[in-house]
């Protein structure tokens, strides 16, 4: 296994925002939990954290207080991953196996087509190793590995018994659910959410659970018959065939099945001779003709892997990955959209803004006054919900006709980290409200937002969602968060994006992408600077609120 799990590193790629939750407790990030849906756990997704370090590392925890749990590479294969296995550490990098890049453009559509690599090769030829080596060498954020093994058909009782006696052909094309496979790959390629089945090797059936996966910059699809289906072939941008000597394959297979899976020599050999070898000759070996590149000796072949990686990099560059720049120019002096609701600009609101915008405001005052402002904004956002007439009996004995909110279920979702500061305000005005969280971080190298973490109430589609972020500049993070909510079946009309300060550009982008989302803010600023901060703005709200400004600021 190429991904050695040893050295720990702060994973953050955010604006001086080392997220200690992620850094400290990788195991707890994606624990399964009754009340919450799992985060988008796309198998192996690799944000690039090799060169970037948060500026304020002095106080950051660079060494984990606990030893990271040893994990194998995470794959869509059910037998190889656990629910918690969403982060792993390879050499000097932290690899996230959940998350996705901002592949939605300013219209909410898909920005960049993922690059799809197919890896085909005989059983035990080292496809997985090659895939992992590619992931490791690519050094780009968000790579997903899809294994063909997840798409085995559900066996009937009879077939199940046959398989126990090594009399079922798992190496035949008919053993795979090709239609499902094509569907999943197509959706992944479109950047959509997919449910990948989890195959149970003991019962030879699919588990009730599925694995939620999102697309990525690069999707690696590996399997023994990866090139067999013509529909799949059409989807692949690059086809790699791993060609390993038959003796070595058999040796590996023997070791794996006997030592790791506890099967007996007779059975393994029987299966090999009756199914594996003939299948290789009739179905897998001919696939070699479709390959763009043939990698002899599998994962050890460094030259071949570096060639593949170079090619992928070049292709990605051609496709371009700049969401934010696109967003920043999309705004052309348009009138503000109808979906924008700005809090009434009273002397108090202006005074509060004066406090929180002043760079010399000490933190306690900054927190105090921003909280006051948040309260007003949240109250304002609530007034925009649907209401209808409601009569009550009064203690004075005369009925009173007032208003009542039509919405029973309101839920807050904060965009970490700055959005979290608004949670208290929302809890103060809504009793027993559920709070979801989304962590979107700006990649310091690319300035692109990336989704790292997600926790939402299970039935979030039934809720009115108050999406909170303290400031909105380009709107890239907010758009991504809205997209995530839509992916969880929240109707667009049910979302209110609430913020203390927004830049016009961001408002335009969000309103253009999602015209039905209510955009609520206490102030609208005209400009945005080259660092994507709003002008005149507040600065980095999260840093100022939490006191994590870089020390060498002034």
């Amino acid at each position: 296994m190429s991904l050695k799990l040893n050295k720990f590193e702060t994973p953050s790629s955010a604006s001086s925002d080392s997220d200690t939750e992620l850094a400290l407790e990788p195991e707890q990030v994606f624990l399964d939990d009754e009340d919450y849906t799992r985060a988008p756990a796309s198998p192996t997704t690799v944000p690039n954290v090799r060169t970037y370090r948060p500026p304020s590392t002095g106080s950051n925890i660079m060494k984990s207080p606990r030893t990271p749990r040893v994990r194998t590479a995470s794959m869509s294969q059910s037998n190889k991953r656990t629910a918690a296995g969403s982060i792993l550490h390879a050499d000097r990098r932290t690899i996230y196996t959940a998350g996705r890049p901002p592949w939605y453009n300013c219209t909410g559509g898909q920005e960049v087509e993922p690059f799809l690599i197919g890896i085909c090769g005989a059983s035990a030829s080292g496809k997985t190793t090659v895939a992992e080596k590619i992931v490791e060498s690519l050094n780009i954020p968000w790579v997903t590995i899809v294994s063909m093994d997840s798409f085995y058909k559900v066996l009937t009782e009879k077939q199940h018994i046959a398989s126990m006696h090594n009399e079922y052909n798992f190496d035949h094309p008919d053993a795979f659910d090709m239609d499902l496979l094509v569907g999943v790959l197509q959706r992944l390629r479109e950047g959509k959410k997919v449910e990948v089945p989890i195959y149970n090797y003991v019962t030879h059936s699919r588990e009730n659970r599925t694995k939620t996966m999102y697309g990525a910059n690069v999707i690696i699809f590996e399997g023994i018959l990866a090139f067999y289906n013509t529909e799949v072939l059409k989807l692949l941008d690059m086809k790699v065939f791993v060609d390993t000597d038959a003796d070595i394959r058999l040796a590996r297979r023997l070791r794996r099945d006997i030592v790791q899976r506890g099967r007996d020599l007779e059975g393994v050999l029987k299966q090999y001779m009756t199914y594996v070898k003939p299948s290789y000759q009739s179905y897998i070996a001919p696939c070699m003709a479709h390959a763009d590149i043939i990698v002899p000796r599998g994962g050890e072949n460094k030259v071949a892997i570096s060639l593949i990686v170079q090619h992928v990099h070049k292709q990605l560059q051609l496709r371009g990955f700049k969401v934010r720049e696109k967003l920043a120019v999309a705004h052309i002096g348009q009138p503000v959209p109808d979906s924008l609701y700005v809090l009434k600009d009273t002397p108090q609101v202006q005074g509060l803004h004066t406090f929180i915008r002043n760079k010399d405001t000490p933190r306690d005052e900054f927190i105090f006054y921003s909280k006051r402002l948040m309260r007003l904004v949240i109250e304002f956002a609530l007034s925009l919900m649907p209401y209808s007439d409601h009569s009550v009996d009064t203690p004075q004995g005369i009925p009173y006709t007032g208003r009542k909110c039509d919405v029973e279920k309101i839920c807050g979702v904060s965009i970490l980290r700055a959005g979290e500061t608004m949670e208290q305000a929302v809890c103060d005005v809504c009793k027993d409200i559920r709070i979801g969280k989304i962590l979107i971080q700006t990649n310091q190298q690319t300035d692109e937002p990336e989704l790292y973490y997600l926790r939402l109430p299970k039935d979030i589609k039934d809720y009115q969602v108050i999406l909170m972020d303290a400031t909105v500049a380009t709107g890239a993070a907010a758009i991504m968060a809205i997209r995530v909510l839509l992916d969880h079946d929240v109707p667009e009309t049910n979302i209110s994006l609430v913020s203390l300060l927004m830049a016009e550009i961001g408002v335009h982008s969000i309103a253009y992408a999602f015209p039905q989302v209510k955009i609520v803010t206490s102030a609208l600023d005209p400009e945005i600077n080259e660092k994507f901060y709003v002008l005149p703005g507040i600065g980095n709200f999260g840093d100022r609120y939490f006191g994590t400004e870089p020390a060498d600021d002034e």
Partner: protein, 223 residues
């Protein structure tokens, strides 16, 4: 009190101006605020919810009252290096609550102005004659120089507030420097108070002939 029968209706800003002049202002209403008012009038509400929603409405009324306090223009530099034209709140304000129900609004004021001085007035009504007289009053020493935010949530006749204003006058506070924060007000009370102290600013969240007189009892749980 003859206004009571005829006036179950929503007042808009123009009508208020016509009827009561410039000194009475209504909290700009919206569905959210109406819902809060509805909940507070509902006789089925429990103590916990009542206090919760009352505090929310109080906070909004206080925030709006603070808008009537003086401020000056100022410019500050933001962390991005840009100039922001803002406002600076004036200093020299104080709050005065009318015991007991006015005290319910103190926390709302505290939540907005952390270190504001708060005075108190206790006005008792005679059970038979409904005549109000001041039993106790304690203010910051220099109250005559300050803007006063007078807090009293329910006005049904206006007698209590009139007495409170009298005490403030005796301490040298000019009536134009008093802002009355109020949640529920009857048109009759509004008329009475406006006639009595025409220059005092009054902010209320609702003008309605039926005042929820149970407010104080309910809020403090002594009903």
């Amino acid at each position: 009190m003859d206004l009571i029968d005829s006036d179950i209706r929503q007042w808009d800003a123009n009508e208020i101006k016509e009827q009561f002049g410039d000194s009475l202002m209504l909290l700009p209403s919206n569905n959210n605020i109406k819902e809060l008012q509805t909940i507070l009038r509902d006789n089925k509400i429990n103590l916990n919810d009542f206090k919760f929603y009352a505090d929310r409405l109080i906070r909004l009324v206080i925030e709006e009252s603070l808008n009537k306090l003086p401020f000056t223009d100022c410019e500050v530099v933001t962390p991005t290096g840009a100039l922001y034209k803002g406002l600076k709140y004036g200093s020299g304000n104080c709050g005065v609550s009318i015991v007991r129900s006015g005290e319910a609004m103190e926390q709302g004021l505290r939540d907005c102005c952390r270190s504001i001085r708060i005075g108190k007035i206790l006005v008792e009504s005679d059970n038979d004659t409904h005549e109000a007289h001041v039993v106790y009053a304690k203010f910051p020493e220099d109250i005559a120089k300050r803007q006063v935010l007078l807090m009293y949530p329910i006005m049904s006749t206006g007698n209590t507030v009139k007495q409170a204003v009298n005490v403030l006058r005796q301490h040298g506070v000019k009536e134009e420097r008093i802002i009355l924060s109020n949640l529920f007000c009857t048109p009759a009370a509004a008329q009475a108070v406006v006639d009595y102290v025409p220059k005092m600013k009054i902010l209320t969240s609702e003008l309605h002939p039926i005042a929820p007189n149970h407010f104080g009892q309910k809020y403090f749980g002594t009903d």
